[in-house]
Amino acid sequence: MEFLSEVAAWFTEPGRWIGEDGILPRTLEHLWLAILPMVIAVTLALPSAVWLAHRRKGEFLANAIVNVGRAVPSFGLLVLAAVFFARAGISLRFWPAVVTLVALAIPPIFTNAYTAIVTVPPETVEAARGVGFRENEVLWGIEVPVGLPVVLAGIRISFIQVLATVPLAAVLSSGGGLGQYVVRGFAQGPAGLVELFSGALLIALLTVGADWAFSIGERAVLPEGVKRLALEDVKAGASVSLQEG
């Protein structure tokens, strides 16, 4: 109980929310460190995955990306990027984390998008071709809309992972968004327990909040028919994230 009141005191300290090291600027820093890598990763992974899946090519590539993505330790990559960027004279505050997070973000986006297109029911695709759809129309009119829930699920998984990994960046600099509280709290031993806990709590809240916001956005984006389809027809290999129509 005493611990919780210390945490409460931490949250209400003067200058805790605004100020240079305040929660609001740290949260913005955290979001920026997550959103930029996501934009880059989506730009890189989505078009290539959709195109390769449409042509039914690159299964090897898809598999390799999943496996490599699972094997690469973010921390190792981060330190490697840091040493590399430092040699190039670039600040450790930002880019090492961005590069690491892009690498972390790509595999779920790519594989979900690939799986989404490949697992669109072949009879649907053939029917479209049968009634005279051109290749482009098959892709944009059938495969992409039908696969969209799975594509979005990939982006969402990726975003949550990235948000939860941003704190690692705090071992490299005084940045790292809300992770700075955790790293600094941890470094102080028992004296830093309150800061460590508060930071972890904030990161958890931010991540859960982002997940919730994403699911609302998802519902707004999806076509009605696809929502219904996604509900009745949960396709293999993808975690469908729609709860209701």
């Binding site: 390799a64 490599v68 190792g76 490697l80 040493v83 600099s173 470094a187």
Partner: protein, 337 residues
């Protein structure tokens, strides 16, 4: 096309493998340095005030010495293991019955064992033993610190032997170029070096023995702080000039490898961290003066430069600590024969 993709996959797999390997390397390296002297302390090159006996004339008796087995322990970083091996092998060569219990974790776990006698011998560090082991504040004066440690260990039935001249303490380092361009040799000189940044682990910012102490005690208003916990990144940032001063340990071989300069004149804020062997008092009494004399004669040879060299053999040349200890003892004719 297929062939192209295959070679890509192979390349990607290789890359992944490489990353995994580097990650492992970084991990262990980081651990080692972060435990090295968790506290934060310094002093002069405590050169003259320790040695009792010179190296060569150790009591190299061939026969076994009667008495209880001495369990030699170490912390879980390479330097501590090397030191433990040096003392263990030297004692063995002189006929003492030795057991090893190396790579142990924190002092909370080790101190009760050495009090009970389950551990007989441990190479400690002067300031850290006081600050972290006993939770007292370590005096910055070497003689005073040794007295404090002797009293504290005396209270739990442990004898403190002579400290070695070598120290594994926190040092503030700059690059060779920075030192010559700004004529910087001591921390006080930093005042004239313009707007500069010190990088250290996060806890450094608020500590009197680190950033806070530099600003308050030496009046370095021009010094900013950047938290870089990961050691390799800190070294890279210093080398590239992104930061100008970095907190490292005095025995990290990277200092000599990269031509960094460790700044002098930190005695006011950093306590001495000489290597100091401590022995369970029952063990010490069972073997008497002879054991102490032998150990002290070895300690006298362990300078900071020796520690840098030994750490370099393990960390840069990837030799194993046991062999490094044997080689060093042989080079100094301490294994008898």
């Amino acid at each position: 096309m297929r062939r192209f993709i295959r070679s890509r996959v192979f390349g990607a797999t290789l890359l992944a493998l490489m990353l995994v390997l580097t990650a492992c390397g970084d991990g262990s390296g980081g651990d080692a340095t972060s435990t090295t002297a968790g506290g934060v302390e310094t002093t002069t090159t405590a050169g003259g005030d320790t040695s009792t006996t010179a190296g060569g004339d150790t009591t190299t008796t061939g026969g076994a010495v009667d008495g209880p087995a001495i369990t030699v322990a170490s912390f879980n970083f390479p330097e501590s293991v090397i030191l433990a091996e040096i003392y263990a092998q030297a004692l063995e060569a002189n006929g003492y019955p030795i057991e090893r219990n190396l790579n142990l974790g924190s002092r909370e776990l080790i101190f009760p064992e050495i009090e009970s006698g389950a551990i007989g011998f441990l190479p400690e560090y002067l300031g850290s033993a006081i600050a972290i082991g006993f939770g007292e504040s370590a005096p910055t004066d070497p003689a005073e610190a040794l007295q404090t440690l002797t009293d504290l260990f005396g209270g739990i039935g442990v004898t403190v032997l002579e400290p070695a001249p070598g120290e594994d303490k926190n040092v503030f380092v700059v690059t060779g170029d920075f030192a010559s361009e700004n004529s910087v040799a001591t921390v006080t000189d930093l005042a004239g070096a313009g707007d500069i940044t010190l990088a250290g682990p996060p806890e450094c910012e608020e500590r009197e023995t680190c950033y806070a102490g530099l600003v308050e005690t030496y009046g370095l208003d021009n010094l900013a702080f950047e938290s870089i916990q990961e050691g390799a990144a800190r070294v890279a940032a210093l080398d590239s000039g992104e930061i100008q001063v970095a907190l490292l340990f005095s025995t990290q071989p990277v200092i000599t490898e990269m031509g960094f300069v460790a700044l002098e004149g930190t005695e006011e804020i950093i306590a001495p961290e000489n290597v100091v062997p401590v022995v369970n008092s029952e063990v010490a009494e069972a073997y008497g003066e002879e054991l102490a004399t032998l150990v002290n004669s070895i300690s006298a040879l362990i300078t900071t430069d020796v520690l840098l060299d030994l750490n370099g053999r393990v960390e840069l040349e990837a030799q194993n600590p046991e062999d490094v200890a044997t080689d060093w003892l042989t080079e100094n004719s301490l294994l008898g024969g």
